[in-house]
């Protein structure tokens, strides 16, 4: 990788980490567009259960109190790292030969 490519990658990672840290503090807790529509048109539908128990439901780290923004920060940082690694792996496997 060229030096200026490395520099750009480093800067973009810093920006992404800043977004991940700020998101739980800045994000609106209002329902999103789809949830809001469901609340108006079909509130019963929202009571449906998850078909699969996710590892960190609703970005709440188990053990940390509900609504603790640190929980969201950790969860989003974990997600950011996992997505980066998997996307890199997929890019590496399927890149032009």
């Amino acid at each position: 990788m060229k030096t200026n490519d490395k520099k750009l990658l480093l800067y973009s990672i810093v920006i992404v980490v800043i977004i991940a840290i700020l998101a739980p503090f800045l994000a609106s807790t209002n329902p999103d567009g789809l949830e809001s529509t469901a609340k108006k048109l079909n509130p019963e539908a929202l009571e449906s259960e998850h078909a699969f128990q996710s590892l960190i439901p609703d970005y709440e780290i188990p053990g940390l109190s509900k609504g603790n923004p640190l929980s969201g920060v950790i969860a989003i940082l974990i997600g950011v790292i996992v997505v980066f690694v998997i996307a890199y792996g997929i890019g590496y496997i399927f890149k032009k030969k």
Binding site: A23, N30, D32, L34, I81, V85, A87, G91, K95, K96
Partner: protein, 214 residues
């Protein structure tokens, strides 16, 4: 715009999964023919960035919020809607399996809306507008309409599933996501495009700028 489990009957979920597998095949084929090794860091960091920014819900009127989907700008920067499909598929799978954001049975539908429709509409609007207007407004219009049309598709799918009445579903989903598209998707995508174009214009794929791609 993440559809939760239980909103779409299983037999309809299968149809969206099949569409995603077919488009996914073409996305992998695109990568094998076009994805340059030097683009992999950009692809990965865009994926990570899309994941982070999707957690940042922007408040809009009517006690509602929304976040950008990101696939239009990823497709524009990497020069193919298939790049957006690959990145969004990774992001949506992680959101669903790790964080319960979007159901597992409806994962196909969520990838279809936010990944496939978002990427193709955003990329081809940008590409179509580019000969006539400056790239910056083309990014704004492409990204704005991409999330709007993805929301319209989502409303139609949920009407077919019998969850929302068609007309009201279209009105609410359309209005909410038009606002999210203007203040979220459109503005943020434009800022990202201007920033990368200023520091490293060479990294923006030429795929969408000249006529003889591939």
């Amino acid at each position: 715009m993440h559809i939760p489990d239980g909103f779409i009957p299983l037999e309809q979920c299968v149809i969206y999964y099949i569409i995603v597998i077919i488009i996914g095949y073409f996305a992998v084929r695109w990568a094998k023919n076009n994805l340059d090794e030097r683009q992999i860091p950009l692809l990965s960091v865009l994926g990570a960035g899309v994941f982070a920014i999707m957690a940042l819900n922007i408040p809009i009127p009517w006690g509602t919020s929304g976040h950008m989907i990101g696939s239009p700008i990823v497709s524009i920067l990497l020069g193919s809607p298939y790049a957006g499909v690959l990145v969004m598929t990774v992001v949506l799978i992680i959101q669903s399996l790790a964080f319960g954001d979007g159901g597992v049975t409806v994962l196909g539908a969520n990838i279809f809306n936010m990944g496939i429709i978002g990427s193709f509409v955003g990329f081809y609007l940008f590409k179509g507008l580019k000969p006539f207007i400056h790239a910056t407004p083309a990014v704004f219009i492409g990204s704005f309409l991409a999330i709007f049309i993805a929301a319209i598709a989502c409303a139609v799918e949920l009407a077919i599933a019998g969850i929302f009445p068609l007309e009201d579903g279209l009105i609410f989903m359309g209005i909410y996501h038009a606002v999210i598209g203007l203040v979220g998707e459109g503005v943020i995508s434009t800022v990202v495009y201007i920033a990368i174009n200023n520091v490293r214009p060479d990294l923006i794929s030429k795929g969408c700028l000249d006529s003889n791609e591939n």
